[in-house]
């Protein structure tokens, strides 16, 4: 047996042994996800057991180095682990902005001490992170952010406001863009800093959305002390890190994994005619058109990964993936609502799982706003790929 085959059979055996049965059922939404952190209440003992067991092997972050709490796996091994988890329909043990946003940035730009301090806690789900980027007057024009950090020698005093901070009210720490210099261009003078959300002067206020849920907050900073040892990268050069992280975020948003095919949801709801076709012929046409786009997009993600592996530069291509993936997801949810007709518009009650279809549908409207709007992605494609003048 080759090393990889051995790895596969050992991994399969370990997962069979260690993944609790209830962690092999599909998640019904964000509420079923394990977010970790100091304030997190596990939904079940199984959820905690599954996290702890996976974290003990570093498999919440399979490719991170072991000294930072990772599994130290090669890309091929990580692929096998993912495939074996899919095989038994294992849930992701930990959903975390620390893993897919801050982690890659710290690995690239952080000091050894910063990595040692923060990465293992992310890997074990002990600290939950939020992202302090957007401000009331810095949305699509993110670089015009104004949250001010005043130099006090060994620390800064931070004042200002962030908005659309995902789960800020439940997060333990924040990675935050602050302005340390306001001379020069707007991209200069931004610094990327980390601090505890329990620091004096930090407060949060959830924003109720059209879905009725409140995944985002307003976050206020009133004379918050931030140690200079918590600066990532160079002072005033945080925009580079911000961009790097956004690229990761965009790829992440566009690659949420394969959801249940739309046609299967429709068949469950509507059944099929004698000829095996969906009874609503116009809906069937719309679903087919969507699934042709969706399948082509999945192959595009595959191609992008293969090109990156072969040494190609992803660069602005991630903007295309973000644009296309989020627009597709919005369309998918429009079709899910249409498939379910009036049932899909229920807002409360057991029958509709508290209006899950309608609320999920409304949530997707933010897909093409967060992480850079669709229009910003199209701007980036124009400028950086098509080389059109600004």
């Amino acid at each position: 047996m080759t090393d990889l085959e051995t790895f596969r059979s050992e991994t399969r055996a370990w997962l069979e042994e260690n993944c609790p049965a209830s962690m092999r059922t599909p998640m019904r939404g964000d509420d079923d996800a394990c977010w970790g952190g100091r304030k997190f209440k596990f939904a079940s003992d199984d959820q905690k057991t599954w996290l702890d067991r996976m974290a003990s092997r570093g498999w919440t972050v399979p490719t991170w180095p072991t000294e930072y709490g990772g599994g130290g796996l090669s890309k091929d091994e990580a692929k096998i682990l993912a495939a074996e988890m899919r095989r038994i329909k294992a849930r992701s043990p930990l959903t975390s902005f620390g893993i897919w946003m801050l982690g890659p940035a710290l690995l690239k730009f952080g000091t050894h001490e910063q990595k040692l301090e923060h990465l293992p806690k992310i890997a074990r789900g002990e600290i939950r992170w939020c992202q302090g980027y957007s401000e009331p007057n810095a949305g699509s024009d993110l670089a015009s952010l104004a949250t001010k950090a005043e130099d006090q020698g060994d620390h800064w005093i931070v004042n200002g406001q962030k908005v659309w901070t995902s789960y800020a009210d439940q997060a333990d720490w924040i990675f935050c863009l602050v302005r340390t210099d306001n001379t020069g261009t707007k991209h200069h003078g931004i610094s990327f800093v980390l601090f505890d959300m329990e620091s004096e002067g930090v407060s949060t206020k959830p924003i109720k959305l059209i879905s009725g849920n409140s995944p985002f907050c307003e976050t206020f900073f009133d004379d918050v002390k931030v140690l200079k040892s918590n600066l990532v990268g160079e002072e005033n050069k945080g925009w580079t890190i911000a961009k790097y992280l956004l690229t990761h975020e965009r790829t992440g948003i566009s690659d949420m994994g394969m959801p249940t095919p739309l046609n299967m949801l429709a068949k469950d709801k509507l059944g099929t005619n004698e000829d095996g076709k969906l009874p609503e012929s116009m809906l069937r046409h719309q679903i087919a058109e969507h699934e042709i786009d969706a399948a082509s997009f999945v192959f595009t993600l595959e191609r992008a990964k293969d090109e990156a592996k072969a040494g190609g530069d992803m660069g602005a291509f991630s903007s295309m993936l973000k644009y296309y993936g989020t627009e597709l997801n919005k369309q998918r949810h429009e079709l899910i609502v249409k498939t379910n007709g009036s049932d899909g518009l229920e807002w409360e009650g057991q029958y509709s799982n508290e209006g899950d279809i309608a609320r999920s549908w409304l949530r997707t409207k933010a897909n093409s706003i967060e992480g850079g709007t669709s229009e910003v992605q199209l701007n980036i494609i124009s400028k950086r790929i098509l080389d059109l003048p600004a």
């Binding site: 069937r284 058109e289 699934e291 042709i292 399948a295 293969d306």
Partner: protein
């Protein structure tokens, strides 16, 4: 398998791109059209293509081909989409070679494939009888007669029909139009008694024809593939051809985008280049995205066809997606070029004319979206 071109395929792409840009740019098609060329393609070009090995990309080496598979044939088709190079490549080198490989006897293969690969013989598939592609609705009758068959009926939208040396004709040997069983393929030589060939001038200025069969007699050895079983026998071959047509559509879409973006960078209005206007930038960027996504579908389908994937599903996916994107690209190209895009003097109009033909050929978007859904059991 990685979803990128390997070194050999990359070389083929470079050589094809260079070859067609130099030997058969769009001006050649314009000349053929304006001179009302008898052949509708340059025989010198076709000979050179055969020398390059392009006519035998799908033919195995034992039969004189280069055996590059659907991937290779698609790469070359994409290059031809960019220059709209006219030749019997699609009819003979792609569709007929594919059908013969899938259905013919070894003796027939040995007889026909080397002639296709060398470009000596042009063979065209006669399949459609109505304005909409639907192979099972074939009504053209082949009746057993003595030790052969007699063919009666008509065919339309025959690719390179008026320059072909022989035809592969889908005919009904039993059952009724609508049945997938009861179909058979016959090889009919040009000049056969009772065969009338009418060239049809189509929007793309290429070679299409209607064929009328007035009791055309063929021998028993003209039967290609199983009697009554042609539908299943040639379907995988048609799917390979559909994927390659999708690749040509991809080339058209890409060329439309490239020409349009170049125009946006140069054309000035309101004192500045129009490419600085966000309204146009976003349209171009959206088109770019659709083309990239289409490229992945086509590439994946070409790979699947060569490695034994579910070729039906992939062919319908690739053809449907390519149809939609080519329609968008050609429409957007004209709109973003403005008035000049409407003039015959400017080349961009040639692309929309070829694209609509290829979109319709071997099943349009609706045909393949329906088939895609049926393949996925809904």
């Amino acid at each position: 398998m990685a979803l990128i071109l390997n070194e050999e395929q990359q070389l083929l792409k470079e050589s094809a791109d260079g070859f067609f840009a130099e030997k058969a740019p769009i001006s050649q098609l314009r000349e053929l059209r304006d001179s009302r060329s008898e052949t509708g393609f340059s025989e010198a070009l076709w000979n050179e293509m055969a020398e390059m090995g392009f006519a035998g990309l799908l033919v195995d080496e034992d039969n004189g081909g280069t055996d590059f598979g659907v991937m290779g044939a698609g790469i070359v088709a994409e290059a031809m989409g960019r220059t709209l190079s006219a030749s019997p490549y699609l009819a003979s080198g792609v569709i007929s070679a594919s059908v013969i490989k899938a259905a013919a006897s070894d003796a027939q293969k040995a007889n026909l494939l080397p002639a296709i690969a060398s470009g000596e013989k042009i063979i065209a598939l006669a399949i459609d009888e109505n304005a909409h592609h639907r192979p099972e609705s074939t009504a053209l009758k082949a009746t057993a007669d003595g030790d052969g068959y007699v063919l009666s009926g008509m065919k339309t939208f025959v690719c390179d029909g008026h320059v072909a040396d022989a035809y592969l004709v889908l005919a009904r040997t039993s059952g009724a139009p609508g049945d997938t069983s009861g179909l058979s393929v016959f090889l009919v030589e040009k000049g056969a008694g009772g065969l009338i060939v009418d060239r049809t001038v189509m929007t793309d200025s290429r070679n299409w024809a209607k064929l009328t069969f007035e009791g055309v007699r063929v021998g028993a050895d003209a039967l290609v593939g199983p009697l009554d079983g042609a539908f299943d026998a040639i379907e995988p071959a048609l799917d390979r051809a559909r994927i390659i047509v999708a690749a040509e559509l991809l080339g058209i879409a890409q060329e439309c985008l490239d020409r349009t973006v170049e125009y946006l960078r140069e054309r000035k209005q309101f004192g500045t280049v129009i490419g600085s206007f966000q309204g146009l930038q976003h349209r171009a960027s959206h088109l770019f995205s659709e083309i990239e996504v289409t490229r992945s579908a086509v590439l994946k389908a070409m790979q699947a066809a060569d490695t034994g994937g579910d070729v039906r599903w992939f062919a319908s996916l690739a053809k449907a997606k390519a149809c939609k994107t080519a329609e968008l690209a050609t429409n957007e190209a004209i709109q973003m070029h403005g008035g000049i895009g409407m003039t015959d003097e400017f080349d961009i109009g040639f692309f929309i004319k070829r694209a609509r033909i290829l979109q319709t050929f071997l099943g349009d978007f609706n045909y393949h979206a329906d088939r895609f859904a049926a393949c996925s059991s809904y």
